[in-house]
Structures are given as structure tokens and as C-alpha cells.
């Protein structure tokens, strides 16, 4: 069988067939769908569950679904979840220990839950977020076994952005609305007088084999140029941006800034921003013992640098103030992440802005730090 390599076009039936083909391969298909007033990521059994005809309105501290007349499935920006909920789940057992009759202990690794995921509709910002978590959780000396297993099995079908949100700023983090790497297939949705269809680009052998299982046609020039045009236009319609300066140097030099007191007065240290952020990876561990007292389990769960216990030492927390915890979060994202893992920790998805109950906006905070650094320099 010769795999299709050039760009192709799928119509809505083709997308249905794609989801069926993935399911019949035994994959767990996960994609966006409408639930409880938001577009969430959930297991899909058919492409009909995609949020056809829904878009979102975003602002700092605000997220609202709005109907779209064009019936598009992927014309909404990031929701409250990210793919880390599946690759790096909120709770996972690591191992267990049992007392043996001879008075010893035996330790047993927990076999990770690792379905073969197919992620449908991964935004380019989220492709970059996955690559960032890959570096953190599999790129160092020790690998997170469960993450590594799920990640290697996962198939990624990207959906390029044609409708950036008010809180989006991927372009100013070095990304953009086009999917350029790290996908098996990349879709670009086109809805016009010629119909509702998806331009498909192939990013891997596996993607090529998959495409060949479903009805498609070679991409016509009109669909290609309309799709390119929409993605290019999205690049110029970002809702927000980070200042175009060396952020690493700016944050590194702003540890004593007054702005931290200002933001600390507004921040509730609730940790929502870390939960919704697709790159935040921090976890803690817990010991869970059963009633017999002979069996104990070690669990890992998401943690947040906004939690007072996060920096706990027996003399007390290192980061006691809200000021120091917000500073840790922002400085880690934009500066020290480079030192630790070789890239920035922010992809500009805007989730932390939309889901902050206090409406704190990372781009506004960085701009304020920049202004403060500027006035310092002028003094």
C-alpha cells in the first residue's frame, strides 16, 4: 500500500470515518466536546460529538460559549483542560509495598494505565506544550514511566487555528497558529461556499497509514490557499502579546520588583492557573495505607506552587508570601524554565488568563514588570 503523502481533503463524513477507524484500531479517541457550558476534552465515540457550531468568547477571568453560524468544529480556543489531563493525569499510583510474613517488605511497581490515545484537535500551542512536558518528564536522566508510556503510544491529530481567542498570544511566545511539527496528521478546517471540509497534512508514517483508511481526495489549490490564508490571518489577530524583549533577562532581573506586591494583592493563590496550564507539571506524593496496615500505596497527584505546603521545610515554608509564590510561578514559566529544561514554559495558550478568578493577565503583569524595569533603567 502506498501511503498518501501530499495534502488531502476530508469532508465531514471523512472525519467521521477517521474517528471510527481510530476506534476500530483499539484507540481511545479524545477530543473537544461541549459539556456544562464549556468545551472540554473527553473520550469521543463519534465525530458528531465535536463542538460543531460553537465558539468561545474569552476575557480575563471570563469564558463563554457562543453559537457560530458556520457550524465549524475547531473554531474555538483552549478550554479549561489540556491534554496533560490524559498524558500526566491528576492522580496516579506509582507503587505499593507489602509486609511479608518473614517480617520483610516487598515493593511492587504499579503498571501505568496507558491506553493508546488518539488526540483529535490538538492546537499548535498545545503541540508545543506537549513537547515541553516531554522534555521535563522524559528528557532528563529519569523518565516518568507512566507519562513516557502513554506519550509514545499517543497519536496526535492537530487542528490549526483559524480563530484565535481574545486571551491568545502564542505568536509572541515564538509559536503560531500553524502546526509545524510533532503531529501525525494536521487538519485545517475550511467552511465556505464550496462546503465544510478539512485540509489534511501528513506528519508521520502512522498518520499516512491512517489517512489511507478513510475516504479522502487530493487537496485542490483553492482549499489549500483558503486554509493557508485563514491560518495566516489568525497570526495577525492575536488577542494579546508578551513584550518583545528578552523575557529571561527581564524576569531574572525583576526579583525585587514592586509589581509583585501589586499582583499579590489581587492573587488569591488558588492555583487555578497552574491546574489549567498545559505545561505545569508539578506533583506531590501521598502515602495511602489500607486497614490491615500491611499494604501501603504511593500515589502521585498534581500540586501547585501556589500551595503554601509546596515549599514546606520543617522550619516552615520557604515561600510564605503570595508575592513570592506568584513570582515563583511567573519567573519559572518565562525564565528559569530555560535553565532547567532548555526552553520557555509558556506557549501563550491564554488559559491562565481566562480561568483566573481574579482576572490576572500574565501578559499585563509582564508588561508592568517591563515598564518598571524601564523606569529603573532611566533613573
Amino acid at each position: 500500500m502506498t501511503a498518501t503523502v501530499g495534502p488531502a481533503v476530508l469532508d465531514r463524513d471523512g472525519l467521521d470515518a477517521l474517528v471510527s477507524a481510530l476506534a476500530s484500531q483499539g484507540r481511545t479517541v479524545v477530543g473537544p466536546t461541549v459539556r456544562d457550558g464549556a468545551i472540554v476534552l473527553a473520550e469521543l465515540t463519534t465525530a458528531a460529538q465535536l463542538p460543531y457550531g460553537w465558539g468561545v468568547e474569552l476575557a480575563a477571568g471570563r469564558y463563554r460559549l457562543v453559537p457560530r453560524e458556520d457550524g465549524a468544529a475547531f473554531a474555538h480556543s483552549a478550554g479549561p483542560q489540556s491534554w496533560k489531563s490524559f498524558l500526566h493525569p491528576a492522580r496516579e499510583q506509582l507503587w505499593s509495598a507489602d509486609r511479608t510474613p518473614e517480617g520483610g517488605l516487598s515493593f511492587t511497581p504499579q503498571e501505568p494505565e496507558a491506553p493508546s490515545y488518539a488526540f483529535l484537535g490538538v492546537r499548535p500551542c498545545d503541540l508545543r506544550a506537549i513537547a515541553i512536558q516531554d522534555r521535563v518528564l522524559t528528557g532528563g536522566r529519569y523518565e516518568d514511566t507512566g507519562y513516557g508510556m502513554r506519550r509514545r503510544r499517543a497519536l496526535l491529530i492537530a487542528a490549526e487555528c483559524t480563530e484565535p481567542g481574545e486571551t491568545c498570544f502564542c505568536v509572541s511566545t515564538g509559536g503560531g497558529p500553524a502546526a509545524d511539527a510533532g503531529y501525525d496528521l494536521a487538519l485545517t478546517e475550511v467552511v465556505d461556499e464550496d462546503g465544510h471540509r478539512f485540509l489534511v497534512r501528513v506528519g508521520s508514517e502512522e498518520g499516512a497509514r491512517l489517512l489511507d483508511l478513510v475516504p479522502h481526495r487530493a487537496a485542490d489549490p483553492a482549499t489549500q490557499s483558503t486554509a493557508r490564508g485563514a491560518v495566516d490571518a489568525a497570526r495577525d489577530r492575536m488577542g494579546r502579546e508578551l513584550p518583545a524583549v528578552d523575557l529571561r533577562a527581564l524576569l531574572g532581573g525583576s526579583l525585587d520588583a514592586e509589581r509583585w506586591d501589586d499582583v499579590a494583592a489581587r492573587c488569591l493563590t488558588c492555583g487555578n492557573c497552574t491546574m489549567v496550564c498545559p505545561t505545569c507539571f508539578c506533583v506531590t506524593t501521598e502515602e495511602v495505607t489500607d486497614l490491615t496496615g500491611d499494604h501501603t500505596e504511593r500515589w502521585q497527584r498534581w500540586d501547585s506552587c501556589f500551595d503554601l505546603d509546596f515549599s514546606h521545610l520543617h522550619e516552615g515554608p520557604v515561600r510564605n508570601s503570595g508575592r513570592s509564590r506568584y513570582r515563583q510561578w511567573l519567573t519559572h514559566k518565562l525564565a528559569t524554565w530555560h535553565d532547567q529544561f532548555g526552553s520557555s514554559g509558556c506557549v501563550g495558550c491564554g488559559r491562565c488568563i481566562a480561568w483566573c478568578p481574579a482576572g490576572i493577565d500574565i501578559t499585563e503583569e509582564v508588561a508592568a514588570l517591563r515598564a518598571e524595569a524601564g523606569t529603573e533603567a532611566e533613573r
Binding site: 506509582l94 507503587w95 509495598a97 509486609r99 517480617g103 520483610g104 517488605l105 516487598s106 515493593f107 511492587t108 511497581p109 521535563v136 518528564l137 532528563g140 536522566r141 529519569y142 523518565e143 516518568d144 514511566t145 507512566g146 526579583l255 525585587d256 507539571f281 508539578c282 506533583v283 506531590t284 506524593t285 501521598e286 502515602e287 495505607t289 496496615g293 501501603t296 504511593r298 502521585q300 500540586d303 506552587c305 509546596f310 515549599s311 514546606h312 521545610l313 520543617h314 522550619e315 520557604v318 515561600r319 510564605n320 508570601s321 508575592r323 513570592s324 515563583q328 519567573t331 519559572h332 525564565a335 528559569t336 535553565d339 532547567q340
Partner: protein, 268 residues
């Protein structure tokens, strides 16, 4: 973070102070890779949890020791372990003292309280090869005389200078009172040709390292061991961050040239 603990049996237990116990551990089956002085293990106490502990002794047989101060659920549980009990260990993790870099030079060890524990194997290595190093001095500070660990052992060490100081003396104390930094003038060392190894509470590390740098010891040769919250030790939980560093990976031992700036920022 998915390394599995390996069972170690408590082969011996010695009480050091009212709060502190040394456990000698032997692998039940296969041993972990060799620990270098300064490195640490994640030690699991059944049903309570896992904490980072430096090795306070390393044997060529695969055996090792931890000296533990009981300050909370897990460390209290480990202090209460009996001979014959089994614990789970992961490691070795982190950077080591790298004493070998100090060959031919004066060696100055400065410890505060339990901070002497991770330095103990370094001191023994240096004293085991007197011809390889210059003058070896050990300066130890503690809160009270009762908080000094390895006190008798210290008296047997053939150092150029061994100094002890306490903050709050009791009726029996005849020695120095105050901060460990005040002993620095007494130890014989040539600042430009010295490697210093420092471990203890953070204010003590700061004061000592500053004073040593002031006396002319190159900052890169002032090695300090830092403590941060640690849940994984494998660089994947984020807890041990100190600015650009992951202390479990880039530390716990690092040079004052890197640590100085980081420890001078409040609540970093």
C-alpha cells in the same frame, strides 16, 4: 519519578542525641549503586512516606548509614525503627562533595547541627589519606551541647584542628559559645589553597560562606549542601526549585559561586 524502592534492613541503631538516631543499613537483596559522600537517598518509612536523607557513612560492602533528626511524621518514624526492620531506599541522587578535587590542598569542614552527618564520610576519607591532603580542620556548631552528634568520634579524629561551639551552653559546657564562624580564625588554612565543605541551617551556611569568601577562599571552592522540599528526587516533581536550579538534580552540593546570589533573595 518511578524508581522503585529497594529493601534495606536496619543492621544497627545508635542514638546520637535526644532527637537524632543513626541507622546502619544493609541491603536485603541487591544493593543500590554506590553512594558518594554528599549524595542522598529517598528513604521510605512504611505507611508514613518518603524523605531525602544524606548518607552519613558508606561501606564498600553496599551497606550505608543515615543519621536522622526526628522533626515530623516520616523522620520520627525512621528514628523509631528497630534493628531488623526493613526500609525502602531509592538512590543515589544528587551531586557529591567531590573531595578528590581538593587533593593537595587544605580541607576545611564547617558543620551546623545535623549538617555534620553528610560531612562525616568526607572527613573520614580525607583523614584516611593524610598524605593526599593539606591540613584537615573540622569546625562544628550546635544549638546546645546535647545537639552535638558524633562527639566522642570527633575527639578521635586526627585533624589539624577540631573546634566545637554551642549557642546555648549548659552547666557542663567548658568550650566556646556562639556561632561557628567565630572558630574560623583558629583553624589553620591557607585561604587561596583551601577547599571548604559546609552544611547546616541556611543562615549558618550564608554566614560561613560569606566569611570564608571574605578571608579569600575562592567562591567556587566553598562547597555548600542545600535543603529544599523534595518529593521525587528525579527532577520531575518541581518541589526542590531554587531559582534556576532543581536542587535534587543540580545539588544538593554546589559552589558558593552559584549559591550566593540565590540564597540572598528572600523567599526564592
Amino acid at each position: 519519578m518511578t524508581a522503585l524502592p529497594v529493601p534495606y534492613r536496619v543492621a544497627g541503631r545508635r542514638r546520637e542525641t535526644a532527637q537524632t538516631v543513626t541507622l546502619r543499613l544493609e541491603p536485603v537483596g541487591e544493593a543500590l549503586a554506590d553512594f558518594a559522600p554528599g549524595q542522598f537517598a529517598m528513604v521510605h518509612c512504611f505507611g508514613r512516606g518518603e524523605i531525602p536523607l544524606s548518607v552519613s557513612s558508606v561501606q564498600s560492602t553496599g551497606g550505608l548509614a543515615h543519621t536522622i533528626r526526628g522533626v515530623g511524621a516520616v523522620s520520627d518514624g525512621l528514628c523509631a525503627a528497630r534493628t531488623g526492620d526493613v526500609l525502602g531506599l531509592r538512590g543515589p541522587y544528587g551531586t557529591s562533595w567531590e573531595l578528590g578535587r581538593a587533593r593537595g590542598r587544605d580541607v576545611l569542614v564547617v558543620a551546623g547541627g545535623i549538617g555534620l552527618a553528610p560531612l562525616r564520610p568526607l572527613i573520614l576519607s580525607a583523614l584516611a589519606e593524610p598524605e593526599a591532603y593539606g591540613r584537615v580542620s573540622v569546625l562544628v556548631g550546635a544549638r546546645t551541647p546535647g545537639d552535638l552528634i558524633a562527639r566522642e568520634e570527633m575527639n578521635r579524629w586526627r585533624t589539624a584542628c577540631t573546634g566545637m561551639v554551642v549557642d546555648r551552653p549548659d552547666a557542663s559546657w567548658r568550650g566556646d559559645v556562639g556561632m561557628v564562624t567565630q572558630l574560623l580564625g583558629r583553624a589553620p588554612f591557607d585561604p587561596g589553597g583551601t577547599w571548604a565543605f559546609v552544611c547546616g541551617p541556611e543562615p549558618m551556611i550564608r554566614a560561613t560562606a560569606r566569611e570564608l569568601a571574605h578571608r579569600g577562599v575562592p567562591k567556587e571552592r566553598i562547597r555548600v549542601s542545600l535543603e529544599r522540599s523534595m518529593r521525587c528526587a528525579t527532577g520531575t516533581c518541581g518541589h526542590c526549585q531554587l531559582g534556576p536550579l532543581l536542587v535534587c538534580r543540580d545539588g544538593p552540593v554546589l559552589g558558593w559561586d552559584r549559591a550566593e546570589r540565590l540564597l540572598s533573595v528572600r523567599e526564592l
